[in-house]
């Protein structure tokens, strides 16, 4: 375990057996171009300077690492919340879009396409496109457009064109297919700004590296507060897995840090309405990546379910699939009801209404046995404003 690099893929883009670029030849020149240039660009001083400046002045970083006193008392541990909910646009998603928009500019691209499920990545993409004055086309499942009307309006205000994905099940996976098809049709001037640690190599690594700022800040902030750089536990929710990749990143190669990944069990693992890929998924290819995904025995990709729109992706990123099978991370799952109760509890004990995605991470506190001295860091990846309607319906507020 010591010698393994859990947070970075090998030269072919594989984390263990997961990852790679299973792409049609039409995408080969674009992916190759990205693969050959992304590291050099994002590691350059010029890029770092511009990226960090925007994160500071525009996104509002560093986000606080907040000691949750009442929650700590309840669960008898020292619980810290990484406040990604305080980022501009309300979630961690913008760390990635700021980085990728700078990369797209360096690559000379003029037109930005992206997929979105709940609309958070779409809003974060439309935001940076407005900032950089670039054309922005967002693919969103027709069904999701109806479910997430306020985010559709936000994206339109920010100047993005929203194209409904009418194929397949008309949700996130189909929006992703449509974005990829757009890229096939527009190979010269277009940049595909993917929203999670999924898709063909080098996207999972690129997105993980752009979200790694979360764990880099945690290390410094934790040291200031506790004189320890490493917590005992790091907990995050996993849909595709970008917020988790970000908060795990610097801790994955520190074996003493326990990594907890929380998936959406939906109405229950065995109900047929779940998004717990670690329990229900098998090895396959989705969106150009070899990973664990939910599919029929014939290899047809199935539609996941969760009350949280940000967690209902039918696969997990290849880094996470590797963390699961290598047992580096412990995967847990919580139901809709457990997540909603955890969201309500956080609201009442700490005065913070979390996104339902993030509430999943808090729900496992009920199931973990901490020592009193344990330092636990939870990624509060997004704020709950967008989920008010779900909270209202669930609790008859």
């Amino acid at each position: 375990m010591k010698n393994l690099q859990y947070n970075s893929p090998d030269k072919n883009g594989f984390y263990g057996e997961f990852g790679g670029a299973f792409i049609p030849e039409m995408l080969y020149p674009n992916i190759k171009n990205l693969e050959e240039n992304y590291l050099e660009i994002i590691e350059s001083d010029e890029f770092r300077e511009e990226y960090l400046q925007l994160l500071k002045d525009y996104v509002g970083r560093p986000t606080p690492l907040y000691f949750a006193k009442r929650l700590s008392e309840k669960y008898k541990a020292n619980i810290y919340l990484k406040r990604e909910d305080l980022c501009h646009t309300g979630a961690h998603k913008i760390n990635n879009t700021v980085g990728q928009i700078l990369l797209a500019k360096k690559l000379g691209k003029k037109r930005i396409i992206a997929e979105t499920g709940a609309g958070q990545h779409g809003v974060a993409t439309a935001t940076v496109c407005a900032l950089m004055n670039l054309d922005c086309i967002i693919y969103m499942g027709e069904i999701d457009m109806k479910r997430q009307a306020p985010n559709v309006a936000r994206m339109r205000m920010l100047g993005a064109k929203i194209k409904p994905a009418l194929s397949g099940s008309k949700t996130l996976k189909d929006a992703t297919n449509e974005a990829i098809r757009d890229w096939i049709n527009n190979p010269e001037d277009t940049y595909y700004l993917i929203g999670s640690v999924v898709g063909p190599h080098p996207y999972p690594d690129l997105v993980a590296k752009l979200q790694a700022i979360i764990s880099q800040e945690v290390q410094e902030q934790l040291y200031e507060k506790t004189q320890k750089r490493n917590p005992d536990y790091v907990i995050a929710c996993v849909g595709g897995g970008s917020n988790a990749a970000g908060i795990y990143y610097e801790f994955l190669n520190q074996p003493e840090v326990k990594i907890i990944a929380v998936e959406a069990a939906g109405k229950g693992i065995d109900t047929g309405q779940s998004a717990a890929t670690s329990k229900l998924g098998t090895l396959g290819i989705i969106h150009g990546s070899k990973t664990l995904l939910m599919q029929t025995k014939d290899g047809q990709i199935t539609e996941p379910y969760s009350i949280s729109a940000g967690l209902d992706y039918p696969g997990i990123g290849p880094m996470h699939a590797h963390l699961l099978t290598s047992k580096r991370a412990r995967f847990m799952s919580v139901t809709d009801d457990e997540a909603m109760s955890a969201g309500l509890l956080l609201s009442k004990t700490e005065g913070i209404i979390p996104a339902i995605e993030s509430a999943h991470a808090f729900a496992v506190l009920e199931h973990l046995n901490f020592k009193k001295s344990d330092v636990v860091v939870i990624n509060l990846s997004g704020r709950g404003d967008k989920d008010l309607e779900s909270y209202i319906n669930h609790f008859n507020l």
């Binding site: 792409i23 039409m26 080969y28 397949g168 096939i184 049709n185 098998t282 290819i285 969106h287 599919q295």
Partner: protein, 255 residues
């Protein structure tokens, strides 16, 4: 079943038709293949439907969705083709996305293809590098070879690399698009057909994507060995009966 290369070496412009297995009805595979053979197409591309066909436009996506709703499975297709084996002389090739083949089992897939007499498969999302590293041995053990795609954006180096590994033909994607493009071919496409034909590759060149009628067939075949038509035939099947297939083929060839 005739050898694919025997057909490719014949001295006329080849016409191949793609259809989605399981569409319009689950058990139409055999009657479609018979109708295409009776219409003298040179070889047939049988598509395995997939829930998430990235390289396909709306027509093939919809036909795939319908085929899956009809209850299509990979095993059923092999059963249908097996039953047809001795009644059909036209070479068949299979087209499928890699996940479907991976779940069926790569080795089992190759062995069943070999059993039926299929020599070539098109797997659009299995790139050359991964094929060579992880799967080439299994394919070659069963005498199955993949057909690779090239596009107007493919570099000369890439095309030569693909030519080297190809056993029959290279699938020349006509333009930067998913299947079923309706724009027709302009100067850019014609220049690209010409450029590739002048590379003097050892493999035959068959053009696909956006070939839909006699005009586009003539244009794309002028500098290559022939064409594959998919979406236009699927659309024909939506409006017409399978036994009218000859009308469609004759109109492409302008007979």
């Amino acid at each position: 079943m005739k050898k694919l290369n025997t057909v490719l070496n014949q001295n006329h412009k080849k016409l191949s038709i793609y259809f989605t297995a399981g569409f319009p009805e689950l058990n139409d595979t055999s009657s479609i293949i018979k109708a295409l053979e009776a219409s003298h197409v040179d070889f047939i591309e049988v598509g395995l439907p997939y829930s998430d066909p990235l390289a396909d436009g709306p027509t093939i996506q919809e036909s795939s969705k319908k085929a899956l709703e009809n209850g299509f499975t990979t095993q059923l297709l092999f059963q249908q083709l097996h039953d047809l084996k001795n009644q059909c002389d036209v070479p068949l090739i299979l087209m499928g996305y890699f996940n479907v083949i991976l779940q069926f089992g790569v080795e089992k897939f190759c062995s069943q293809c070999q059993n039926i007499g299929i020599e070539a498969v098109i797997i659009p999302d299995l790139p050359l590098e991964i094929y060579e590293k992880d799967y080439r041995k299994i394919f070659e053990k069963h005498n199955i070879h993949p057909i690779f795609l090239i596009t107007p954006q493919s570099s000369e180096k890439r095309i030569r690399q693909i030519d080297e590994i190809s056993h029959s033909f290279i699938y020349m994607v006509s333009s930067a698009s998913t299947t079923g493009g309706t724009k027709g071919f302009g100067d850019n496409e014609l220049k690209y057909f010409d450029r590739i034909s002048k590379m003097q590759l050892k493999s035959k060149l068959i053009t696909g994507f956006g070939v839909k009628d006699n005009k586009t067939f003539e244009q794309a075949a002028a500098n290559t060995d022939g064409c594959i038509i998919g979406s236009a035939y699927i659309n024909f099947l939506k409006e017409n009966k399978i036994n009218q297939t000859a009308e469609f083929i004759n109109q492409i060839r302008n007979y």
